[in-house]
Symmetry: D2
Subunit: 292 residues, 4 copies
């Protein structure tokens, strides 16, 4: 397939590499510094603008940081919409606002294109290994068309519902992960301050009702203070901003999510913005006067 | 072994039955109405008071609702301490204050006894099946002495540390479970209000970083509105009261735990006190104006 | 003075009327339906666009709902910037983002104009009576130039600091008001549920450390359930969105403010969005199961 | 009148001195070290125990730190109940649990006595000056009997309702004061981090809807970092513990109060427990990474 791939950062570059390896033709835009050569060597073609990349593409994949970035690459100057061919499928794999997604899809549709939102989880590790979880919103037809490509990128592909439903699922994912991290951080800090051994408590709790991927993986990181990302607090905070904004648009109170967002602000203020999100435990420990 | 078993409610009665079935001699105190006959038929001996039950016991097991109940059966009028033989091992399997536990252990020690705190998780189902998780605080010697009995009652026996460490681990467990339930409740309500399908989102999220026993089991209950306990909100709230009190004694801020405690107050006020703790989702939905 | 006044809603219309009454020449844009005639009768001149209104103005006053509205009237198609004369003073009296304010001021400055942010508090009553509190950010020179106009509109004019400082002060105001309303709501609901008389408690507390304008005025509204606005929950929520966004940009955790924001979401979901912000007590009472 | 005064700490000692100065006979118990001589010189009579102090008293005034202290001096060994004469009026001016208060009153009544709860606000300054605010629960008859004494001690005496209503009002007072301090702390820290002048903002906000005794007095302390108590965070936290416990007994969710309680834990952990409660701003600033 002829694919325009726009956004080649930490996540996008290995995803593009996997698509090239699977034999697809890629036109590449917004190549991050230093990632260019390897992808060109692997057969990718550099494009100066998003419009140029999208010109002859059957599928346009977008993987950029935030809602305004998607708006810019789709509808800005020299954006995708300027050269969009009728019938082209735009797949936005960024994590952005569900509401904006619906609006972007409507505009692409008006321009003759099709639209899927397909945000991912699984991080850089999953992007490289092609084992991402991908949550997809859009029509069944478009989903079926995209499926072969998505199966190159991920191991767990779910069609959630109409356009926007993929982003909604991703928001739900980030809500759960954030509050579970905070829960584990409070529990393990409590154990530490109470004078018991967090490692033994973690081990005892795994398998019971308190068991979670977060307790297993991030709990371990908290105990060993191993905060190399993984997923950065700064990025998780961005996703919580999306969650709180989306909830406010829906008149929905999410007090635990809003609290986690505030604690991530504190983590960034303390200099942990580029640490793994398990470093939220450092904020809880500082609040408890634990400085060791 | 000659065991005094004090407290035969929803949890205690099946635990006592399992010990009888394993061939131990039981002297029973505080038999809940209607649970008496089956245990006596199975070979248990009724005692009028905790002191009478403990008189000739090698091991005293306590399984009562809250900190003041433990204090009363141990140190109240006609309590265990009045008849405690030197060397007797007291095992408190109730879920109570870690701080009070240390004080109770010291008083039992002064009276010539030994003390383990060994709270459980796994609920009525685990109590009947003998598959409880048991978190134990106390000396290694006492733990080894108790181990054969605990293995009759549970499947996952952890020696966490000194006296009090078992209760500390149980508090940590209840902190994580409560905040994770709230996290899943916020996420699934967000999905519902945003117009996507919570069941599809739950399925998509299982296996990823948001995966937890709570998402799997309680998430299902939330989606199907199946709130038969399980573990009652009223009881979980009691455990959060312990958590917040214990944290306050330690000058530790647990904002997410305190929030969950308040939301459980709201759940009880709405009439959900005797529903399963997954019914916390009803409070989140009411806050969002979702009444269907 | 020749003034362009853009935005003639609930607040803007009476403010414009006061300026007309004080003898100023007004060119009016964005006249809300039904407010037009009275202002024209009073000597105002209708303009079709913001650019037309601003063409010959010495001062441009903007009073619109939110950040994107200010951006549109200043820099959108047929906006103020298109016709701005060198030296014109733009006074934005809307309540908007402090960060965006700095950016807007820089763009106006580049276009040869001057800029003050001058948000108000005091509501419709204060707008009509000319007794608004006005918090001003900008240079001392610009402030002194604007002062005679601001004194027509308000009774309490404060020059806080550089551009943006007026909006910062307004955000601070809305943070305090929101959390104080929540505090009074929790206290009076506690009293009610505990079986004492909220009116007597309110009276006893006035004069002591718990005393505030909110306890005095909004406390009375809560007790008598008189929720005619005043200031609508929907608008206060918008201001809290500004506060939380601005704090996030600054990596600042404001947990109490974020909680109030979420509770206002719940209030809107319950149908209280157009009630006075003192109706936040209804959300607290519902959480407590108080339905009378 | 013959008064037994039990509890002569920071608050009790100057209150007792005022009663002596007004010509009453005082029998003194639980005299804090160093406060004894002045009160004896002023005509007070030392008693070895609460029972001895109460033996011939017409009125017993209790002013001790917390609920268990009141229980001990009333009903413990050599407590008031042992020597209580029929018709004696017990006035508890401590700040304790409203629920326990009702129980204590019932026991005093059974013993032939009368009971008022009459907690105060106004701090050491008010105690010395005789200008305390006093919130009273109990029968109108008992209130009228106590009034002449209370008027010696305070300037603002309110009969709120039945027994317990005084403590309920005091809890409401502490809820409002705590959350208002947090609100002002968040607002002023926001202003500081945003680069504006907190002193100017405070001045601008006084007089408007954000105006409160706390903004006036504690806001000033926050800005000048003058944290000599005043009222200690440690004691305010104790009162919030009462508030949260009382609310939980009533199945009432008080999320803002619970949050303030947790932040006071953090303040104590940071070493600010004996600072004035306005030092809660230091916790907010630390969360924001402001260390200057």
């Amino acid at each position: 397939m002829r694919i325009a791939f726009i956004g080649l950062g930490v996540m996008g570059a290995p995803m593009a590499a996997n698509l090239l390896a699977a034999g697809h033709q890629l036109s590449l835009s917004r190549v991050a510094v230093g990632r260019h050569d390897a992808l060109i060597d692997a057969g990718g073609e550099a494009a100066d603008t998003a419009a140029a990349a999208a010109k002859d593409a059957e599928v346009v994949i977008v993987m950029v940081p935030d809602t305004p970035d998607v708006e810019e690459v789709l509808f800005g100057t020299e954006g995708v919409a300027e050269s969009l061919q009728p019938g082209t499928l735009v797949i936005d794999m960024s994590s952005i606002s569900p509401t904006a997604t619906k609006e972007f899809a409507a505009r692409i549709s008006t321009a003759g294109g099709h639209y899927l939102d397909a945000p991912v989880s699984g991080g850089e590790v999953g992007a490289k290994a092609g084992t991402l979880s991908i949550m997809v919103g859009g029509s069944t037809e478009d989903f079926e068309q995209a499926r072969p490509l998505l199966e190159v990128l991920g191991a767990n592909i779910s069609h959630i519902g109409e356009v926007g439903a993929g982003q909604t699922a991703k928001v739900a994912n980030q809500i759960i992960v954030a509050s579970t991290i905070e829960a584990v951080a409070e529990a393990l800090t409590f154990v530490e301050v109470a004078g018991a051994d967090p490692a033994k408590v973690r081990a005892a709790l795994l398998g019971g009702f308190a068991s979670s991927k977060i307790l297993e993986l991030h709990g371990e990181r908290m105990i060993t203070r191993s905060f190399d990302p993984g997923f950065r607090i700064r990025l998780h905070r961005k996703d919580l901003n999306l969650a709180v904004s989306a909830a406010t648009e829906l008149d929905l109170a999410l007090p635990s999510t809003a609290l986690a967002q505030q604690l991530m602000n504190a983590a960034v203020a303390a200099g942990d913005g580029d640490a793994d999100h398990s470093a939220l435990v450092s904020t809880v420990r500082r609040l408890g006067g634990v400085t060791a």
